[in-house]
């Protein structure tokens, strides 16, 4: 038998019961919240990392010279490795995991989850092909006939082909959250996709700049990655601010107070700090730069994680709040 249900009263101490029934039904939630927890947070983070890495690898292959090959190689491997746990996390989260393949029986363009499943399949296929080509190129697969066939695939074509699914995977999760009745997500439906995209790109650039190691062109590679990271961080900061302001006091409450509020503030502080550290790295002596840049990358990556956690768990809080739902469904601005 499931545990005894506990009802939460949202009445302020000293206020009579009648106060609750004036504007809501005893302060009980109007809508049902999502059941999503940590598996979904990790999927969002890894999906962003995978999508962002694939974008960077593809851009480096398409317009970068030989100097950018380390980004292509590591970006392709990282994109494939980061997306691999994704389907497993999603399947674990299902109420009936053994029926995961029911997702593949329809295509529904108005359901971001249905489109997302197909996007994930497409991305995994393109990331696999890119990683396979790279492995063949790097000689990891030996020199047999099959490997020669793989290497005959058009490399730039594979890179160009991976751009669309990569951007899709990094951004669709924001659209998925926005297409619900959860006030916090619904109010920010137009901002969450771009926000998740920025955060995906900044975290992928941060991860790659840590992983490129030491090659002859490593300084140039780091510079290019930092430029991307800075653009993405500026966008992320602006969107984090826009989400907070656009939500207003009532709808934005979950990302202002409590643990989720602290996570959101942490995400914003991380993006600002990472940006600040990059700027600082330009003026300090050379030997301090590496430390600052490693620190900036770690902070940016942590911020991407905090952002996903704040939005997923904040949505759960938002659904519990009848005032937020009523504010949304009256078309009021506050």
């Amino acid at each position: 038998m499931a545990e005894l249900r506990r009802w939460q009263h949202r009445r302020a101490p000293g206020e009579p019961v009648s106060a609750e029934t004036r504007e809501s039904y005893y302060g009980l939630p109007v809508i049902h919240g999502p059941h999503w927890r940590w598996p979904i947070v990790f999927y969002f983070v890894l999906g962003g990392l995978a999508g962002g890495s694939a974008v960077l690898a593809a851009a480096a292959r398409l317009v970068g010279g030989r100097w950018a090959r380390s980004v292509v190689r590591i970006g392709r491997y990282l994109a494939f490795l980061a997306v691999l746990p994704g389907p497993l996390l999603l399947i674990v989260d299902l109420g009936r995991p053994e029926r995961f393949h029911h997702m593949l029986r329809v295509v529904k363009l108005r359901s971001p989850m249905s489109v997302g499943v197909w996007g994930l399949v497409g991305f995994t296929a393109s990331a696999f092909l890119n990683a396979l080509w790279q492995a063949a190129e790097d000689g990891l697969l030996g020199r047999r006939g099959v490997v020669r066939c793989i290497r005959r695939l058009p490399d730039r074509g594979l890179a160009a082909m991976s751009l669309l699914p990569a951007f899709f995977l990094a951004g669709y999760t924001g659209v998925l959250l926005g297409a619900t009745a959860v006030p916090l997500w619904a109010r920010n439906a137009l901002r969450l996709g771009p926000l998740f995209l920025c955060s995906a790109l900044s975290s992928a650039a941060a991860a790659l700049s840590l992983l490129v190691g030491s090659g002859p062109d490593v300084q140039r590679v780091r510079r290019a990655l930092e430029r991307v990271e800075q653009v993405a961080l500026v966008g992320e900061l602006a969107l984090l601010e826009a989400v907070q302001r656009g939500s207003g006091d009532v709808v934005g409450r979950p990302i202002t107070v409590g643990l989720e509020g602290r996570a959101y503030a942490g995400a914003r502080a991380s993006a600002g700090l990472a940006l600040g550290l990059h700027l600082l790295a330009r003026v300090v002596p050379r030997r301090c730069r590496t430390v600052l840049r490693v620190l900036a990358a770690l902070v940016a990556f942590g911020g991407a994680f905090l952002l996903r956690a704040a939005m997923v768990f904040g949505g759960r809080c938002s659904a519990e709040d009848p005032r937020a739902t009523f504010v949304m469904t009256r078309g009021e601005r506050h």
């Binding site: 506990r6 029911h102 469904t329």
Partner: protein
């Protein structure tokens, strides 16, 4: 732009659609509908909790509660004043037997990624239990908080409008059991005509009555109307119903467009930084 008065009583329900009219002025809060629903659909008992704030210990609709009678004890008006005379109906009580609204455009159905949620030949919305894989996306996609995941079998459940009974030409269990005909079952357009007549009658008696579930109230924002609709005598929020809910899927295309725009900007920025980054000189 339509003025609200032209939308009152208007629904986009398809011809031949079946639904409920739940007239709260006739409800006596006997909970026969809750019991009949549980009996017919063999729904297990809810966790036996005590809400401690009203006569309502059911709380809300859920995976094992497809009819829920809300009890609102009106000890004060909206300004906090104690009433000095009784209302003609239900006195100081408001009772509402809540149920799945079987929306004309249903958020849960559009969200469902497996196609488990379908529209039947009676124009009702039903979750096919042999298809549902418990992804839970329909749960937050419903603007009324109707579907829920069951901890017992991991799947989403909600009112089927007694699909099995309709197939055999019987009316749903809840409306069959209702002793005061507060729950009426029939073709939606006929019920809507009846509701309009009833609201006019109530208003003539000085009751602040309204239809919830037409395009003016409840069936707003792309939902197009509710096949299971209500007659209320207080603002919808008092019954825990949103006044102007929106179909969440209306936001899908705009959200994909802003995301695509962001992808374009970031893509150009990424290409530029790999194209234009010059070699770094040592020293």
């Amino acid at each position: 732009m339509n003025s609200e008065s032209t939308l009152v009583g208007r629904t986009r329900a398809r011809p031949g659609a079946f639904g409920f009219l739940t007239d709260t002025t006739l409800c006596i809060g006997c909970k026969a509908c809750e019991v009949a629903c549980k009996q017919w659909n063999q729904l297990p008992m809810d966790d036996f909790g005590f809400t401690g704030m009203s006569y309502d210990n059911t709380g809300d609709l859920g995976a094992t509660t497809w009819r829920h009678v809300a009890f609102i004890e009106r000890v004060a008006d909206r300004q906090g004043r104690r009433p000095t005379r009784l209302q003609p109906f239900q006195s100081h009580w408001l009772m509402l037997s809540d149920v799945c609204k079987h929306c004309v455009n249903a958020g849960c159905m559009e969200a469902c990624p497996t196609g488990a949620i379908i529209r039947t030949e009676f124009d009702t919305v039903v979750i096919q239990q042999d298809v549902c894989n418990g992804c839970g996306y329909c749960v937050p996609a419903c603007p009324f908080g109707v579907p829920a995941l069951s901890p017992l079998d991991g799947k989403a459940h909600k009112c089927t409008l007694c699909y099995d009974r309709l197939k055999d030409g019987l009316e749903p269990a809840c409306s069959k059991a209702c002793p005061t005909d507060a729950i009426q079952f029939g073709p939606v357009h006929a019920l809507m005509d009846r509701a309009k007549a009833r609201v006019a009658e109530l208003q003539a008696q000085g009751v602040d009555a309204r239809i919830y579930g037409d395009e003016a109230l409840g069936g707003t924002g792309g939902i197009g109307g509710l096949n299971a609709f209500f007659i209320l005598t207080a603002p919808p929020e008092v019954y825990n119903l949103p006044a102007a809910p929106e179909l969440p899927q209306r936001r899908v295309l705009p959200a994909f467009l802003t995301t695509a725009l962001a992808a374009l900007v970031l893509g150009v920025a990424t290409l530029l930084s790999f194209w234009r980054t010059k070699e770094v000189r040592h020293g």
